[in-house]
């Protein structure tokens, strides 16, 4: 299997698509830094981070520019695309190129082929995400001159891991279609459509709210119990989207002062202090998100694994 991973990695690193994706990630890093250079001062003042002895270094990654946290947001779009592009022709290109039967005639287990490809994809995504985070951290350090605390380093590390897991989900999904579809066009198009639905419609355009409203319509006169119930439903529907889970998880991780997940009543709000969550509490808050994302990736990969193991090898 090591031989397969080695070859796949060599393929990725020599390919144009890897270069393009890497450039995109670097652009995201550059955009984040630019936003930070403009907005970090106001962001820190607004969030009271300075006075709270809080998270100045993390603000580099979440600084907004016109209200949008530039870096994390671009990453949230680029990582799924990276995953899809790395995985969409994993199996069907071998099949149509006639290399699959030659490969499987070698003394390797059939699952080594798909495992090796998946692992190689994860390794190259880790490299991309790690490099980008380190670059932004390094330039940011020069720019603001405030070193990260150990707490911040751990948060960034977990953010990196989470991003790779999220990318692995999309790669697993794309690989699943590369096993099912004989042609690369189909296996590229369908994951991208799914991404559009899950991300842009669900998270960006607020389909979650819309569906909840359609299922249980509320108006200004509705009593408070109905409204809370409806808010809970909105949250549930939105949580069906992996993109939403990822977004919530990284916001809680990188903006420790983030005011929780789900519906909060005004009466609750009055008890809440403007305290950032400790690392342990942040992790506790997003633990379900992490578990969901990891299991979604595992499920996607698992299904493609099973189908691939049962598939006929012959090309015709």
């Amino acid at each position: 299997m090591i031989a397969i991973i080695r070859k796949e990695l060599a393929d990725y690193f020599n390919s144009v698509r890897f270069l393009v994706l890497f450039l995109l990630l670097l652009v995201a890093g550059g955009g984040g830094l630019y936003a930070a250079s403009h907005g970090i001062r106001t962001a820190l003042q607004e969030s009271d981070a300075v006075t709270q002895g809080g998270f100045i270094f993390l603000a580099l990654f979440t600084s907004s520019w016109g209200g949008i946290p530039v870096f994390t947001m671009i990453i949230a779009i680029i990582i799924p695309i990276t995953g899809i592009v790395l995985g969409f022709d994993a199996i069907n290109s071998e099949r149509s190129g006639g290399t699959l039967s030659r490969l499987l005639a070698q003394p390797v287990y059939r699952d080594s082929v798909i495992n090796g490809k998946f692992l190689a994809g994860i390794i190259s995504m880790s490299l991309m995400v790690g490099t980008t985070l380190l670059l932004v951290a390094g330039f940011g350090l020069r720019m603001i001159g405030v070193p990260p605390t150990s707490d911040e380093i751990i948060r960034l590390f977990i953010y990196g891991l989470l991003t790779v897991v999220y990318g692995a989900f999309w790669m697993g999904l794309a690989m699943l279609f590369s096993v099912i579809f004989r042609r690369a066009a189909g296996s590229l198009l369908i994951p991208i459509v799914i991404f559009l639905i899950i991300y842009f419609f669900w998270v960006f355009l607020g389909f979650g709210q819309a569906i909840a409203n359609a299922v249980a319509p509320i108006s200004a006169e509705s009593d408070i119990a109905t409204q809370i119930q409806q808010a809970g439903m909105q949250q549930t529907i939105r949580s069906l989207s992996p993109s939403f889970l990822f977004q919530e998880a990284y916001l809680v991780l990188l903006i420790p002062i983030w005011k929780g997940i789900g519906a909060i009543t005004y009466s609750d709000l009055s008890y809440m202090l403007a305290n950032p969550l400790s690392l342990g509490q942040s992790l506790l808050a997003i633990w379900p998100h992490i578990v969901s994302l990891v299991s979604l990736s595992a499920i996607c990969f698992g299904i493609s694994y099973i189908i691939f193991m049962k598939q006929e090898i012959r090309a015709t």
């Binding site: 031989a3 005639a105 003394p107 090309a315």
Partner: protein, 311 residues
């Protein structure tokens, strides 16, 4: 040739849905021979090969390949058996050398040994010049030769070649057949699947003809010839300057002649041995002008056509 068997199948059966592709197939390949698996397209050749390699599970029946069971011990078989698929492909952006290196890597061959073997097989296939060229630029013939190099890199005991000559020009076919014919000398058994009869006849020691998943006939080429042609081993064509009906009677009386068909100036004579000298003497004695005379030995074509006409 020895009597140990490289491949031995008993009642091998495979269905896809309700269609039986391979139907109680029995055949065996001896060590160090070139065995030709013949049959029209869709006869079940490729399916049989995939089952031999453990890439497809048989529905029933048993297989032994080099004394291993492909369903149970596929890796042991793949370590010593090389397989050239019908539409062989390479990673187009890697060079010939890199493609072979990857396969050697998968076979756990050490790095210095890999380089030595790559040079050796590339030279054998006449690809030394192209070793650092990306395979995307290879011609069909070069790809096919690289495919054989790829199969030989693991120094297999048995190679299975699925339609190795399809899509090649005549020179390429001859070159490839010469290489295949030389493999048994290196201690490699060859199973060659093809529908190109002439080629199989040229290099194979024995053949099996497959039709609709069943082995119609199996044996050495000589055996098959005797069986199929039932004595009429030679066909001699005689062309004379002008038609001569008496000549037919005279030739008919020559000992060994079985049948004479006349078609104007051309006579088609079936005989059990090479009677060219007797026939030419008869023609000249009769005073007819001999234009030309051709002798056909029976060919696999005749056997093949005979069996497929019957089905």
């Amino acid at each position: 040739m020895t009597d140990t068997l490289a491949i031995d199948t008993k009642d091998l059966t495979k269905n896809y849905g309700k269609v039986t592709v391979v139907d109680h197939l029995n055949f065996h390949v001896r060590d160090n021979e070139v065995f030709g698996l013949l049959g029209p397209n869709g006869a079940g050749k490729t399916t049989t090969i995939l089952m031999l390699l453990g890439l497809t599970e048989p529905a029933s029946g048993t297989i032994r390949v080099c004394d291993f069971n492909p369903s149970r011990e596929p890796l042991k078989i793949k370590r010593i058996v090389g397989y050239l698929p019908e539409a062989v492909g390479f990673y187009d952006d890697l060079t010939a050398r890199e493609n072979l290196r990857f396969i050697a890597d998968l076979n756990n061959i050490s790095a210095p040994e890999t380089e030595r073997r790559i040079d050796e097989v590339l030279e054998m296939m006449g690809l030394t010049e192209e070793r650092d060229m990306v395979t995307g630029k290879f011609s069909r013939g070069m790809r096919q030769r690289l495919g054989i190099a790829d199969v030989l890199i693991k120094q297999p005991k048995l190679v299975i070649l699925d339609e190795p000559t399809s899509g090649l020009d005549p020179a390429g076919i001859n070159q490839l057949l010469d290489i295949i014919a030389g493999l048994p000398k290196m201690g490699t058994t060859v199973l060659l699947s093809s529908h190109q009869l002439y080629q199989v006849q040229r290099v194979c020691h024995s053949v099996g003809i497959l039709s609709r998943g069943k082995m119609v006939i199996e044996g050495t080429i000589d055996e098959l010839g005797r069986e199929a042609m039932a004595g009429g081993r030679y066909i001699i064509e005689v062309e004379t300057a002008e038609p001569n009906s008496e000549l037919v009677d005279i030739i008919q009386k020559i000992k060994g002649v079985e049948k004479v068909e006349s078609d104007g100036t051309t006579l088609k004579i079936s005989t059990d041995s090479d009677l060219r000298s007797q026939i030419s003497k008869a023609v000249i004695d009769k005073g007819a002008l001999l234009v030309q005379m051709k002798a056909h030995e029976f060919s696999l074509d005749d056997i093949y056509m005979k069996y497929f006409k019957e089905n």
